[in-house]
């Protein structure tokens, strides 16, 4: 294409006029504004109770996937459960940050043992852990069980070990926890649900 000097000036000034008008706001701008897409739309919603303190606030946990078999679900958002009578949707900073707790690398995922004199924590199986705990309790209870107190009254106390069961659970689980502890004669018992 042949462009004369005069034509070149015309093209340039035409372009300048156009862009100037556009920058002055005369261009019919596309209304590209939009709000961020709502991220929970089809997420699976699961109810639970906050694991931290004995208030036991209600949680809604949202995991990716609609439940399809090929998907490994993963929690990506947690907020308060507005239908929960205790908290009505509210959560303290610890509860509000639970999603990072769920995915924390430092989270305890399996039983570990630090042998006497050792600095290292060693992973063990659930079976081994339960066996060892049962063995420790049995030995300790056999050695320190108090059947009668000083005045000869039957007390059946097991004072040298306490049970600290954690996390907010159902009434039934709390009942079983207490039943286990009391059947051993254990007196020092606490639980997040303050059983």
């Amino acid at each position: 294409m042949q462009v004369t000097r005069r034509q070149f000036f015309k093209i340039c000034s035409g372009g300048m006029a156009g862009t100037t008008l556009a920058t002055l706001g005369f261009a019919p701008g596309a209304a590209l504004a939009d709000v961020r897409a709502y991220k929970l739309l089809r997420a699976r919603e699961t109810r639970n109770t906050c694991p931290y303190c004995s208030v036991g606030c209600g949680l809604l946990m949202y995991s990716r996937s609609d439940g399809a078999g090929n998907v490994k679900e993963s929690i990506f958002h947690i907020e308060g459960d507005p239908d929960h009578p205790v908290s009505r949707g509210a959560l303290c900073p610890k509860g509000a940050g639970l999603v990072d707790f769920v995915h924390s690398q430092d989270r305890l995922r399996y039983p570990e043992v630090r042998e006497a004199g050792s600095k290292e924590w060693k992973r063990i199986s659930w079976e081994e852990a339960l066996d060892r705990i049962a063995r420790h309790i049995k030995n300790d209870r056999d050695a320190n069980f108090v059947e009668r107190n000083a005045s000869g009254v039957t007390v059946n106390r097991y004072n040298t070990t306490g049970l600290f069961a954690c996390t907010a659970t159902s009434n039934e689980a709390g009942y079983l926890t207490l039943k286990l502890a009391r059947s051993l004669g254990m007196v020092s018992v606490d639980h997040v649900a303050r059983i």
Binding site: A17, T20, L24, G25, F26, A27, P28, G29, A30, A31, L32, A33, D34, V35, R36, A37, Y38, K39, H77, I78, E79, G80, P82, S87, G89, A90, L91, C92, P93, G95, A96, G97, V99, D100
Partner: protein
């Protein structure tokens, strides 16, 4: 993706001759009411904000005070500010949740030179549209509350959205929902004003004579309001401005200078066109023909 929400009352750097689509303006204005006299400074709102918005602030350091982080950042859109004052032998711990106030006349929007980077919805929410943000930082200068923050990584400015994605589907903002003491409330602006009235009365009956609602007129009112026990001295609450106004420089630049310049441009083109019609183009002398002749 362009959702036709058609409820943009204002759009930055947009000519008044061609306003943004706003036919769906029959919406009740929403507002967040923060009652600083109920707030215990637990920061649940800060955590819920970062949770909902998928932002995580870098782990910081203890600076000898509870403020953490010390200031708003591109990833911390709300921050608790703690101030201790001693008056008449009494110590008061004034805690304020800081963040975007969602002004009715947003200084950021007025200052913004990029078309559509800042929009104001019919419900009062002022939102930044990152797609159109050019990272110039004019909104930071335009904001009377010093709220927007420039992210150095992507050269875009961020601030609280009032959880526009939640509000637009009928939910409350994340900070409001999580507040364990009920210090943050959400509803229509009218309802929040009524709620504030009751709270102010209550505070006055408890000896806070100067209790009041912070809904500054200088920016046309805000969609985030405070109930303060010392409404006569808002600056006690870590520098809440007493009479916030959009900088006169922004007003001059966008209100007077910009239209003047636009008129100047138009006049120049008009003059050129008139000159062309009246006088016509300058005809070059045909040197070649002269040479031939």
């Amino acid at each position: 993706m362009t959702l036709q929400s058609q409820d943009y009352l204002e759009r930055s750097a947009t000519n008044a001759l061609r306003p943004p689509p706003q036919a769906r303006d029959a919406q009740l204005e929403v507002a967040k009411l923060i009652d600083v006299s109920i707030c215990i400074g637990c920061k649940a709102c800060q955590v819920a904000c970062s949770g909902w918005n998928d932002t995580r602030e870098e782990v910081g350091f203890n600076h000898g005070k509870l403020d953490n982080p010390l200031n708003l950042t591109p990833k911390t859109w709300t921050v608790m500010r703690y101030n201790e004052i001693e008056e008449n032998g009494k110590l008061q711990w004034l805690i304020r949740k800081d963040g975007c106030m969602h002004c009715s006349e947003p200084g950021c929007l007025k200052a913004c030179p990029s078309p559509g980077a800042i929009v104001k919805h019919a419900n009062g929410i002022v939102d930044f549209v990152s797609e159109n943000c050019i990272g110039c930082g004019y909104c930071i200068a335009g904001c009377p509350f010093d709220v927007p923050r420039l992210n150095e990584k992507d050269k875009r400015v961020y601030k609280c959205t009032l959880c526009v994605d939640r509000v637009s589907v009928g939910q409350e903002p994340a900070c409001v929902k999580t507040c364990p003491t009920g210090a943050i409330r959400f509803g229509t602006k009218e309802d929040m004003k009524k709620l504030a009235e009751d709270r102010v009365e209550e505070l006055k009956s408890r000896g806070f004579q100067n209790a009041g609602l912070y809904d500054p007129e200088g920016v046309g009112g805000t969609h985030v309001m405070y109930v303060l026990h010392h409404a006569d001295r808002p600056e006690l609450y870590s520098g809440l401005p007493k009479d916030p106004k959009i900088s006169p420089l922004v007003g001059f630049w966008k209100g007077i200078f910009k239209p003047l310049v636009a008129a100047g441009f138009a006049a120049t083109f008009a003059a050129a066109a008139l000159h062309y019609m009246a006088v016509g183009p300058v005809k070059p002398e045909d040197h070649e023909e002269e040479e031939k002749a």
